[in-house]
């Protein structure tokens, strides 16, 4: 986990499910063969209805038609982000597209767990609803130590919830490193 995560915000709504994060028809690509892996970046968040792509204006694709990486690094979401299926391809796709963190009001538990255990993304929780104030394209900085998120574009600071127990796994890198440290796996 990086101490500072800095990048452009991409704002989505409530209950963004895993089919919107990565539609099921794309799950057949290999997650390791580079030529196929990049397709996850290409199709990340492609299941969002056009009007909901990049709030408040909408119509802003997360990844452009001809690109495999997104110009947005931090996803801002409402409640229940990542609900639906258990597919790890969801946080993976966001990571492949270049996202490093999500800030949501709440998460579906499997998505949350997958993000942490796989070391794909840092899932921060916000204390307040951010999707009405942050705009897609705002420049944000998250200090993961202090939990302060600064909206550079708007000149506002917001305190995020502490990461709690999962910080240890995020610091270790992923659940395997964590299990090695706990003596459950050979080093």
């Amino acid at each position: 986990m990086k101490d500072v995560i800095k990048g452009l915000a991409y704002v989505v709504g409530d209950s963004i499910d895993t089919d919107q994060i990565i539609p099921a028809s794309h799950l057949v690509y290999s997650m390791s063969i580079p030529d196929e892996r990049k397709m996850y970046g290409r199709y990340a968040l492609s299941g969002l209805p056009t009007a909901d792509q990049g709030l408040p204006d909408g119509n802003i694709p997360f990844t452009e038609e001809d690109a495999y990486e997104s110009s947005f690094k931090i996803i801002i979401a409402g409640t229940n982000f990542g609900c639906g299926s258990s597919r790890e391809h969801a946080p993976f796709a966001l990571m492949v597209a270049g996202a490093e963190a999500v800030i949501a009001e709440s998460y579906a538990r499997i998505f949350y767990r997958n993000s942490v255990d796989g070391g794909f993304l840092v899932p921060f929780e916000s204390r307040e609803r951010l999707i009405d104030s942050i705009r897609t394209g705002d420049l944000l900085t998250i200090d993961s130590k202090s939990g302060i998120m600064t909206n550079e574009t708007q000149g506002v600071e917001i305190l995020l919830n502490p990461l709690g127990d999962v910080a240890d796994i995020l610091k270790a890198g992923n659940v395997f490193e964590y299990a090695r440290q706990a003596g459950l796996m050979p080093k």
Partner: protein
């Protein structure tokens, strides 16, 4: 303070007497299940972390059931099956149920029950969110991602945050026009589709124990649509009978303490409940069938782990018999065993399969089918602006294929009644 069934099962698997909600613990896993979508990436991570030559922790405890993308020409989907096949033979896995052989089973959650892998008191993890289905047999079961599954594959262990339990008590006698699907859609409508996040949904009460095992599975299956970590029902004689006819394995039933502490408790009188649907595009967007009756349909779909079991088809067949469907109606048995039962068992002298054919339904092969859209050539997949009524469990945009399609979730009775009228219809209108 007393403990719930879920706490007691988890405590036992962590080598402890008691655990409290909110604690993170490491548990021993009895069964790990994976399928064709998440199996190959799980295996890849397993090899990356434990080494190319590593052995799975216990091959008797690993179950691999391809079911999602089976009847398709999609080359990537076919490659996934080959990867599973190679892994199964490399590790000489006894519980690999290959496609295109007599061992092929169909949808994992239904097949886990049929093959005797759901054993009371156990801990079962699967790389699929509907793994919570198995909880109908009094065990702790939940879905995880590929990374967690790979860790289990190598060590047999995983960390769990002990959940609080929400208790749903169903009392009264279930009227013939209602099914477990109506009960669970009502619960999800009441608590919202994140109302159970991180928690256990425990189903209790006489009306639950009056249900068959298949109907109980419909309740626990959809715990995840309320965000739940697991769904669970205490085991009883029906559970033991079902399990004993499927496996010789021993098991250790666990019950709650008398003074168990619950997060919340809700009591329902099922005799007063109504047939309901979940309107597009959320499983908690509940309406009574009366409220949406008359909505014009383009398609009906009967299938999936929640609505494609034998009794789901039997219920639908009772309505379809002697009638003709007015919209395209796709029928996809969850498992090959269900499929066989449909061809063997009869209703008024006709096989159930024949009842569907005579009513004009299109019959598919046992699998997940269009429940999750899938490759473009998937049977029953939506491609446009279809309005669908379906016995499946999710109606998010694009779930059955097309983002523009609108899916209503309902019980097999409601779906069948609607299919023969071409519009959403209350099963009470057609049941005699």
């Amino acid at each position: 303070m007393g403990q719930t069934i879920t706490q007691k099962i988890l405590a036992g698997h962590a080598g402890r007497d008691r655990v409290a909600p909110g604690e993170n613990i490491w548990v021993d896993v009895d069964i790990l299940m994976t399928h064709d979508v998440c199996g190959p990436p799980t295996i890849e991570i397993f090899k990356r972390e434990f080494g190319e030559q590593a052995k799975v922790w216990d091959k008797d405890k690993l179950v691999i059931m391809p079911d999602h993308y089976i009847f398709t020409e999609d080359p990537h989907a076919m490659r996934n099956i080959e990867l599973l096949r190679a892994f199964a033979s490399e590790h000489d896995l006894p519980h690999y149920f290959d496609v295109g052989t007599s061992r092929y089973k169909g949808v994992c959650h239904v097949a886990l029950a049929e093959e005797g892998f759901n054993r009371p008191g156990n801990v079962l993890f699967g790389t699929d969110s509907h793994t919570c289905t198995s909880g109908a047999f009094g065990l702790f079961s939940t879905g995880v991602g590929n990374t967690d599954a790979a860790l289990i594959m190598g060590t047999g262990k995983i960390w769990v945050k002990v959940p609080e339990t929400m208790r749903f008590v169903f009392e009264g006698a279930l009227p013939p026009y209602l099914m477990a699907k109506d009960l669970i859609l009502s619960v999800i409508g009441d608590i919202g589709f994140e109302g159970g996040t991180y928690r256990t949904l425990e189903f209790d009460g006489q009306a639950v124990f009056d249900l068959s095992m298949e109907e109980r599975m419909t309740l626990t299956n959809m715990a995840i649509e309320a965000g739940g970590k697991n769904g669970i029902i205490a085991p009883d004689e029906k559970t033991f009978d079902y399990v004993r006819t499927r496996t010789d394995a021993t098991f250790n039933p666990i019950y709650r303490d008398e003074n168990a502490v619950y997060h919340t408790e809700r009591v329902y009188d099922v005799s007063k409940m109504e047939p309901v649907v979940a309107k597009p595009h959320r499983p908690d967007n509940r309406a009574t069938v009366t409220e949406v009756a008359g909505t014009k349909l383009d398609r009906a779909y009967i299938g999936s782990c929640t609505g494609g079991k034998y009794e789901d088809f039997l219920a639908a067949a009772k309505i379809l018999e002697g009638n003709e469907v007015q919209v395209d109606t796709f029928v996809v048995p969850a498992s090959t065993e269900v499929s066989r039962q449909l061809r063997e068992k009869t209703l008024n002298g006709k096989t159930i399969w024949q009842v569907f054919l005579d009513a004009g339904c299109k019959m598919g092969h046992a699998s997940c089918g269009a429940c999750l859209g899938g490759p473009v050539d998937t049977f029953g997949r939506t491609h446009g602006t279809e309005v669908v009524i379906s016995t499946t469990n999710r109606n998010f945009p694009g779930r059955m294929g097309s983002k523009e399609a609108a899916v209503y979730l309902a019980s097999p009775l409601t779906v069948a009644a609607s299919a023969i009228h071409g519009k959403i219809t209350d099963p009470r209108e057609v049941l005699v």
